[in-house]
Symmetry: C2
Subunit: 430 residues, 2 copies
């Protein structure tokens, strides 16, 4: 008899609002409640139970509830106190657990809803993005042993002083993984409106395929395409506690993607997936004297401005001078340009050139460690497509190139197709 | 420096839904959120604070939130588990406290919201209608001493085992009174969309006037007109702990009605108010043999059917027989008639006659104890208006007559005007 943690996201239980495109009035008039969605998820839980497994369910707030609540608070205060926002936000998940438990009862199952504080999720005293400090799952164990299906509110906990807190972005997923770890669950299943994790973004590349198995590290490196599927914080949590994850669809019963510790055969696949990030910008500072400490000053100033530098490349010195190129998130481009220009003179550089129309294209896979020529194959694919590589960065299981944003879609396609063994036919989903 | 508990009801913070007349789809699409209502109530709280008083606020859920949540649950389950309904319902008040605290902060006040469990409201383990067992207000005292305005969720508490419970009908008012008692508050103010408690229903009688001061007992006896203003459970609670109440309008700053322990001068007013209940029905069982135990059998059977008998009158025996008349709530009329007919033969009675078009008209006042001829004045007023009295019942501070429902409105007017001293001009609101 397995213990399965099932995580139902907001889209499984309600309509995801279109966020920014919705008018304020529409946001406030409230999401439609879809009883049928709750009934559908109840039937999935019942099927799991009918196989003889013990089941625990973690839910997010329905659809766009969180955005609606935030919009209300914003009407009252330009900068609402974080403590009160957490008090407000936690009601979204609490409504969802009660309704889910009622739906499960209607399906003939014994269900009991629990808030985060009720199941002993103790967090730091930081509102809005608290980290879990400990979990005391006695109440959950008792409910499971009594044959109930516990339905736990994701995203929330309480401090030692019984103040309500939320866990920040991806918080409901973290609740699910943390409970799976605390209870020693056999697997933590994420029910989504997608079939699993894909080799690349299917909107960008029609030959994208579902990945059957992926390691935690690969999943983390694929974050830019995986972010919409699982937040990296929950993947890190799963890695730390070795919790097996299963990203799967609530629309059918076929297996999705298993996220797990690295297994030897995973290296058979050279490249697990192709990731990208459009929101990049590049800055080049030319003819910097090749003396110690020159770059340090610039990057200290950029860090002071809270700008995160991603890739940095320094050209080989030529005539006692070299050039430095680096990338920053596109929204920070103008600010980083100003800082760099201000440093130009004291650095003795000759020019600063910016380009905020670049993108990052990456391949990810633990197989890169044992397969030679992976880089060459990627560069060849881009070259054959006439795409110029502006910068290159490597890590153990990832290789990234900066290219012109206009060529991103073509780049994804040719690189994806250059590694046709991405999906191992032999992989079996457990 | 006084400590004031301010209770803001659902209509102060949102639109009261039209309940049954709303379509299910309308219920589910959600109440409009009115930021202006929160801002208005914040300004009232600030005015209280500016007078130098310490303030604690208790809020209900906004507008028709509770009905909307119940409608969602009803779509999922014909009879949702009470525990899960409480889990669902308590979110309504929790949203309201967070938004209220945010609105108070925007008004420049230091506010902190608290759920019922957070402020130590411990209840019985009965979902849906738990009674408060104890209150541990340490957290509230600390917040008050720190100069904060605590904003507490009404209607909710938690069992010793940390299960969330609700207090049933009138529960938010009870929370306010209970906290006022636990903290030794000087007064508990109820902010309503009415000016206070009236001498009778203004919709039935244009000469109805606001009452300045009323005793707990009078308020309880006026329940049928007072129910819309304050639930009797909270008045009983206030009486038991001697908490002064002030029912007042949130639309202006004029004094409303003070509900307090009986004061000697209250007897100067003969009749405090005129109450009525339309939903009455009468049953008469004729020519019952005048032998012991005959009535007992009938009323035992009626009690077994969970029907509450209000007034009972037995005529003086005539020829060894008498007749018995009693009233029951109109919705129970048919069932009570069937039980009575079934008893008729074994009782040896000759006939059973029912009338479900009667109403009860009552006068209430502690002054009735010290003023003679109150009954005579009421009977004369009804007689002069040609209204026949079918039954009469008396208690120490109340006198009730059953009359034809069609004559109720006229009856209220003539009885109300027969006691023109109802409102003491000398009464001063503290």
């Amino acid at each position: 008899m397995s213990l399965i943690v099932m995580k139902f996201g907001g889209d499984a239980l309600g309509d995801k609002g279109k966020g920014a495109s919705k008018s304020s009035a529409e946001m406030l008039s409230g999401a439609r409640f879809h009883a049928e969605k709750f009934r559908h998820m109840s039937r999935i839980a019942r099927e799991r139970r009918d196989r003889g497994d013990r089941v625990l369910i973690v839910v997010s707030a329905m659809g766009d509830t969180t955005n609606r609540l935030l919009a209300m608070a914003a009407q009252l205060h330009p900068d609402p106190p974080a403590r009160e926002l957490d008090m407000l936000m936690t009601t979204g998940e609490q409504q969802a657990i009660a309704l889910m438990a009622i739906a499960l009862e209607a399906e003939g199952l014994d269900a009991r809803s629990f808030t985060g504080p009720q199941v002993g999720i103790v967090t730091e005293s930081i509102f809005g993005k608290a980290r879990i400090r400990e979990i005391n799952p006695a109440k959950l164990r008792a409910a499971l042993e009594a044959g109930s299906i516990p339905v736990v509110a994701g995203f929330q906990g309480a401090t030692m002083d019984n103040e309500l807190t939320t866990l920040g972005r991806g918080g409901s997923d973290i609740t699910a993984v943390a409970l799976a770890a605390a209870l020693g669950a056999d697997i933590c299943e994420f029910y989504k409106d997608v079939d699993g994790v894909f080799t690349t973004d299917p909107r960008m590349c029609r030959s994208a395929r579902k990945i059957d198995r992926i390691s935690y590290d690969e999943m983390l490196e694929l974050a830019s395409i995986g972010a919409a599927v699982l937040h990296s914080r929950s993947v890190e949590f799963a890695k730390n506690y070795n919790v097996r994850l299963h990203v799967r669809s609530y629309l059918h019963d076929r297996p999705g993607t298993i996220v797990t510790a690295e297994e030897p055969e995973m290296e058979d696949i050279v490249v697990r997936g192709v990731a990208y990030n459009r929101e990049e910008s590049k800055i080049t500072i030319a003819e910097v004297p090749d003396t110690p400490g020159v770059a340090a000053e610039l990057f200290e100033k950029i860090a002071e401005a809270n700008i995160i530098v991603d890739m940095v490349i320094q050209s080989a010195p030529h005539g006692g001078r070299n050039s430095i190129s680096f990338t920053v998130p596109r929204p920070d481009h103008e600010k980083a340009m100003r800082i760099t220009r201000a440093c130009m003179e004291s650095m003795g550089a000759s020019a600063v050139v910016g380009d905020n129309k670049v993108a990052k294209l990456s391949i990810v896979g633990v197989g890169m460690r044992s397969h030679p020529n992976v880089a060459a194959r990627m560069f060849r694919a881009l070259a054959d497509a006439g795409i110029n590589i502006q910068m290159i960065a490597t890590s153990e299981i990832k290789l990234s190139c900066i290219i012109d944003e206009a060529e991103l879609e073509k780049g994804i396609q040719v690189v994806h197709d250059a590694f046709p063994d991405q999906v191992s036919e032999a992989a079996v989903v457990g």
